[in-house]
Symmetry: C2
C-alpha cells in the first residue's frame, strides 16, 4: 500500500493568507439580549446616548442647595445664615425657587431647585430652627453633578464590536437600555476521527483511548466567543467523514475536525471534499512542529479546519490558525499574552525548516527565571496543561544551548513552581506532598524514575529527589550529586503480585518499573535467577503495574506490599527497598525547605506511615 | 431633622478583617457537571488518574514497528531489509509477535505489537513486496508514546480548587471523565435602593434616573464566578429594605445592596439589621475615596454588603471588598492586574486621611506614557467605563504634581488612545471621527467646551481641538496655543428654536451651551439685547438643548439649523458660527494626523456636508 507524504508545507502566515483569500471571517448578524445577559458579549450596535446622564442637574451630597454667591463670605468663625424654605428629597420635583438669602435642604441624588447653583455639604452646616449656618463658602457647581456631565445627549458612547465589560453594562443601564444588540456567536461543529477513539463515558477497551480533542477544542471554541456543537467520533473512512462535514456545514458556521489528517490518510482529505463544492481543499500541511498534518478547506463561505489528531498539536494549531479566525467572526478580542525572558534549562534540538512551539514551565534557579521544556511529546495533553507557556523557535534555528535566553509567551499569569519533586514513584510521596499542596504551595511532581530525577537535580531544576533502591544495594552517596541532603529513609516491603500461583515460568510477562527507575535492574536480576526467558511491560507507577496484573496482561508485577493488600490477588515476598528523600542543600534554609523538613520528620507522618502495611 | 455623620471610618484592610472575623468565605458544596460544561469552572475534587495515558504503548507516527536492534546498521546507502508480517491499524489488538528480522506495518495511534520497541517512520522506508527497506537506524522507544508517558495510573493530576482550563478539559476527557465535580457557584442577591431610581425598561420621568448598580454589580458578580439574582429597586425605607435583605438571605448566599447608605440615611442601616439576628452591622464607613458610605453586615454566616449609591463608588468598593470575598467562595482566581508607571498629566489634589482611587486613561505624550484623570466624579459611570486603569493615592498624600510618576493599575490590556478630540461639540465632528473609528483607531472624544479643550491642548493631552465661535468674533490666533495648525473651517447657521412664537420675554428659560463653550458668551449677549431678565439651563450638546425645548423645560434653545430641521419646532435666525478644526503640529507628520488631514479635506466629506442644511 502506497502512502502519500506531505510535499508542500506552508508557513502559518501563508496558510492564513490562503484561507482569507477564499473565506472572510465576517461577524454574523446581531441578536437582542437583555442587559442582564450582555456581560462579555460583543456590541452589535453603536451606542449613542438618547438622554443626558445624569438627566438633570442633581445634588451629589446631602446638604443645602444654595446660590453660591450667598456663601461668599462664610467662614468657621463667621458663618453665613440662610433661611431654609423647604426640603427636596431624591426623586421629587422641586416646586420652590430659591431667592437671595434662601436655601433648600437637599438629599443626595435630588433634582437641583431653580435658582441654586451649588450644594453645601451638611458637615459644613448647623441648623437652628428654620435657619442654617454655613461655615464654608462654596463655588458655583460645587456639590452638583450637572445634567449631561457624565454623558451628554447625542454623545457617541460605545462602538459596535466593543466587548461589553461590567462597567459598560452599567453605562447601558444608566442610558435606559433594557436590551441591547450584540453579535451572534458563531456555531462551530466539532468532531474527531480515529478508529481507536471512544467517548469518555464509554468503557475503555484494550486498544482504545478516550477522545481528548472534541472536548479541549470545544472549550477553546467557547474561549474564542463561539458555541461548540459536538458531532462525536467518526471512523477514519471517507464516507463517514464526508457525512460529518456535511452535517457540520448544515448546522454550524465553521467545522473543525481533528485526526484523520496525518500523512498516512492524507488521500482522504481530497476525497472528503471532492464534490462538496468550491473552493474545497486550500491548505494541506503546515511547516510547524507540532502541527504538520493540518488541512484547511472551505465549502462556499464556510471554512473547515482539519487539525492534527495529537492533542497538543491540535491545540497549538488551533491557537495559531483557528482562534484568530473565530475571534474575527465572534468579535471577541484575543487575550494579550505576556512575554518574558528566561534561560532555557536544558539543551534543545529543533527541526530546521519547521517553526517549533515548545511548551515549557517556569522555575526560579539561582535567582534567574528558567524555562524547562515539559516532558512528553505532542500526544501529552496533561504535560501541556501543566505548562506555563510556550517558546517559539524559528525555522532557521536547530539548536538552543542550555542557559541560552529564550522568550516565553505565557498562557496566563503564572507562579513558578515552589517545589519540584522527581525520582521514583512511591505511595509515600503522595502523602508527604499533599500537605504542601493543601497549604497552597505549587508542587510539581514528575516521578519519571531515578535517572531522570538525577538529571534534573544536576541541572538544578528539581528540588526534592526520591530514590527507591534495593536494600541490598548499598546507598552510594557518590551516585548522587554532592549538594543533596538526606532528609529521611523509609523501608518498603516489595512483593511479586499475581493472579496465579505459578509466576516464574519461561515466557511469562512481568510488569516492572521503567528502565531508569531505582529498582528496575535489581528486579530483573531477581526474575532472571528463576527463569531465563521472560517479557517485560514497563510502567511509570505501581498502580499501573497492578492494573496490568488485574487485566491479565502481565502474569506478575513488582509491587509494594502496601499496594497489593488493597486488592484481592496472591503475592510472594520479593525484597526490601529503601526509599530515600533527598533535598537540594540550598533549599534547606528556605521557608518551603523548612516546611518540608518539618513535615517529613513529623510525628504525624510517623503515625500515618505506621498504619501502612510494609512501610517503616 | 438631625442627620448622622460617619464617625469611625475604617480602612479597607480593617473592614475586611472585621468581616472575616464573623464570616468565612468558604467554598460551597460540589456539583457534578458534564465536561462539555466544565470549562471555566472550579474543580471540586482532586483528579488522580484512574488509568494510564496513553493506556497502552502506541505508535506516534505511521511506519513500521520494529525491534530497534534490527535497524542498528541501517543507512541511506545500505538499507536494512525486514520482512513485513502484517499490518496493525489504530484501534485493533495486534495478535502477531515480532521476531528477529520481522516488522509490522503500523498506523499512528495503533497498539505496539509484542516484541517491538520502536517505530520507523514511513518516510525513511521503501516497500518492495513483503520486504521493507529501512534507511535509518532507530533507537529503542523511538516513534512510540509509552503507556503512561503522559499520565501514569495513580498520578496526582489536578487539585481541587484549580480552575478548569481548555487544556484541563482535554486532560479530563483523556482520563475518561465524562462528568466532573466542580464547586457550586454562590448565589448573590442584588438590589438597589433610592426613591429616584427606575428600571431601564421604564419611562424616564423628570426627576428619575435609571438604576445602574444592579446591572453593573450583576455583571461583576458573574466575573467573580457567582450567579446574580436581581431583586429590583427598593424605596429608601427601613421596612422595604429589611424585607429585601430577608428575601436575599432566603434565596442567596450573599446579599449586595447599593445606595441608601450615605450619611443622610445612615440610621437606616442600624434599623434594617435590628432584630434579624447576629452579628448584624460590622462596618459602617470606609476611609476610601470614593466609597466612604459603605456598610458591611452579616446575619448568621451570610454577609450583606451595602455599597455606596454612586456607580463609580459602588464599583470601586466592590473591587476592594466584595470581589475578594466572592472569589474566595467561588474559587475563581482574581485577575492579576498589570501595573505600569506613567506621568500624571494634570496636578491632582487628594483628601488627606482617605485613600483615593483615581480613574485615569493613558495617553502617549512626548514619548512618555501619561495618565490623565477621567472627567466626572463618582457618579460618572461612563467616564469610568472609558478609563484604562486606576491610580491608588495613599492616605498621607494630598497633592500630586503634574508630571509626577504614578503607578497605574490597569483594568485590562489597554492601547493608549490614538487621537483625543476636545473642544465644542458640533454635528460635523461625529461624521469626521466616525471614519477614524471604523478604521480601527481608538478615538477619544471629550467635547467639554472650548475652555476645557484649550487646557488639554496646552497640557498636550489633546490632539484635535474643535472651536465653535461666532462669525462676528474675529478668530484670534493669540487665544490659541501657537503649536496648532488650522485644518479647516466650516460655517454653521445657528437659530433660536422654540415650541412657541414669542420667546424673548422676561423670565424665559433658555437652553445654552455651558460656560466655557465658544458660543456661550455671545449667545447670552444676543438674548440680553432683547430681554434683561432670563434663566439659563446649560447643556453639553445640541441634542440635550433640543430635548429641553421638546420637554418644555426651556422656552428656546440655541441650535444649529441642521439639528432643528429634524424636528417639528419653530425657529428664528440667530447668527452664523465658525467651526474651526485645529490639530497639534507634531501630529501632522504622523500616520493618524495625515489620515485626519486627508479625511477633513476630502471631496467625500464636502459631499456629505453639502447635504446638511445650514453647514458650508
Amino acid at each position: 500500500m502506497g502512502r502519500a507524504v506531505f510535499k508542500k508545507l506552508v508557513t502559518v502566515e501563508e496558510a492564513l493568507e490562503a484561507l482569507y483569500e477564499h473565506v472572510k471571517p465576517n461577524p454574523l448578524e446581531v441578536e437582542e439580549v437583555e442587559i442582564k445577559e450582555a456581560y462579555g458579549r460583543i456590541l452589535g450596535e453603536d451606542v449613542i446616548a438618547r438622554i443626558d446622564l445624569p438627566p438633570f442637574s442633581r445634588a451629589i451630597l446631602d446638604g443645602y442647595a444654595v446660590r453660591a454667591i450667598d456663601t461668599s463670605f462664610a467662614s468657621e468663625t463667621n458663618p453665613t445664615r440662610l433661611r431654609v424654605i423647604g426640603r427636596i428629597p431624591a426623586g421629587e420635583l422641586p416646586l420652590l425657587e430659591v431667592k437671595e438669602g434662601d436655601c433648600i435642604e437637599i438629599d443626595t441624588g435630588a433634582f437641583l431647585p431653580k435658582g441654586t447653583d451649588a450644594v453645601v455639604r451638611v458637615e459644613d452646616t448647623s441648623i437652628d430652627g428654620d435657619v442654617v449656618k454655613i461655615y464654608d463658602s462654596v463655588g458655583r457647581g460645587s456639590g452638583i453633578a450637572p445634567m449631561g456631565s457624565d454623558v451628554y445627549h447625542g454623545q457617541f458612547v460605545m462602538s459596535k464590536s466593543e466587548e461589553i465589560t461590567a462597567e459598560k453594562v452599567g453605562v447601558l443601564a444608566g442610558l435606559g437600555y433594557h436590551k441591547v444588540d450584540v453579535l451572534m456567536r458563531p456555531h462551530v461543529a466539532i468532531f474527531s476521527t480515529g478508529n481507536e477513539l471512544i467517548e469518555p463515558r464509554e468503557e475503555l477497551g484494550a486498544t482504545k483511548i478516550y477522545d481528548v480533542n472534541q472536548y479541549s477544542i470545544g472549550a477553546l471554541v467557547q474561549k474564542s466567543g463561539c458555541i461548540p456543537i459536538y458531532l462525536g467520533i467518526k471512523k477514519d473512512e471517507v464516507e463517514e467523514i464526508r457525512e460529518a462535514v456535511v452535517e457540520g456545514l448544515r448546522c454550524a458556521h465553521v467545522v473543525i475536525m481533528s485526526g484523520g489528517t496525518s500523512a498516512g490518510v492524507s488521500d482522504l482529505a481530497y476525497k472528503v471534499f471532492d464534490g462538496l463544492g468550491g473552493p474545497g481543499l486550500i491548505v494541506h500541511g503546515i511547516a510547524a512542529k507540532p502541527g504538520k498534518p493540518t488541512i484547511i478547506a472551505a465549502i462556499g463561505d464556510k471554512p473547515i479546519f482539519g487539525l492534527p489528531g495529537f492533542p497538543v498539536s491540535a491545540l497549538v494549531i488551533y491557537g495559531l490558525i483557528v482562534d484568530p479566525f473565530l475571534r474575527a467572526m465572534s468579535g471577541k478580542k484575543g487575550e494579550v499574552r505576556r512575554k518574558l525572558k528566561a534561560k532555557l534549562a536544558t539543551r534543545h534540538i529543533s527541526d530546521r525548516g519547521r517553526r517549533e512551539y515548545l511548551p515549557v514551565f517556569l522555575k526560579h534557579r539561582r535567582k534567574a527565571l528558567n524555562a524547562v521544556p515539559v516532558l512528553g511529546g505532542s500526544g501529552a495533553i496533561a504535560s501541556l496543561s501543566s505548562a506555563d507557556g510556550v517558546v517559539e523557535i524559528p525555522e532557521n534555528v536547530d539548536l538552543i544551548e542550555k542557559d541560552e535566553i529564550v522568550r516565553v509567551e505565557l498562557f496566563s499569569e503564572v507562579r513558578s513552581a515552589d517545589i519540584i519533586a522527581v525520582g521514583d514513584s512511591s505511595p509515600i510521596s503522595q502523602i508527604i506532598l499533599e500537605e504542601l499542596r493543601r497549604s497552597g504551595r505549587k508542587v510539581r511532581a514528575e516521578f519519571r524514575g531515578l535517572e531522570h530525577g538525577l538529571t534534573w537535580v544536576r541541572d538544578e531544576i528539581a528540588d526534592l529527589l526520591v530514590a527507591c533502591i534495593p536494600e541490598d544495594e548499598l546507598f552510594d552517596p557518590l551516585r548522587f550529586p554532592s549538594k543533596l541532603t538526606n532528609l529521611r529513609n523509609f523501608k518498603m516491603k516489595m512483593v511479586w503480585a499475581s493472579y496465579d500461583k505459578e509466576i516464574f515460568y519461561p515466557g511469562s510477562t512481568f510488569a516492572l518499573p521503567r528502565i531508569g527507575s531505582g529498582l528496575r535492574r535489581y528486579a530483573e536480576e531477581c526474575i532472571r535467577r528463576k527463569v531465563e526467558n521472560f517479557d517485560v511491560i514497563e510502567t511509570w507507577s505501581y498502580d499501573a503495574s497492578m492494573n496490568l496484573v488485574l487485566n491479565r496482561r502481565a502474569i506478575s508485577a513488582l509491587l509494594p506490599l502496601y499496594t497489593v493488600t488493597k486488592y484481592d490477588v496472591k503475592f510472594i515476598d520479593a525484597f526490601c527497598a529503601n526509599i530515600i528523600y533527598l533535598i537540594r542543600d540550598e533549599l534547606l534554609s528556605t521557608r518551603i525547605g523548612k516546611t518540608l523538613l518539618r513535615r517529613i520528620r513529623s510525628k504525624e507522618l510517623d503515625l500515618t506511615l505506621s498504619s501502612l502495611q510494609g512501610i517503616s
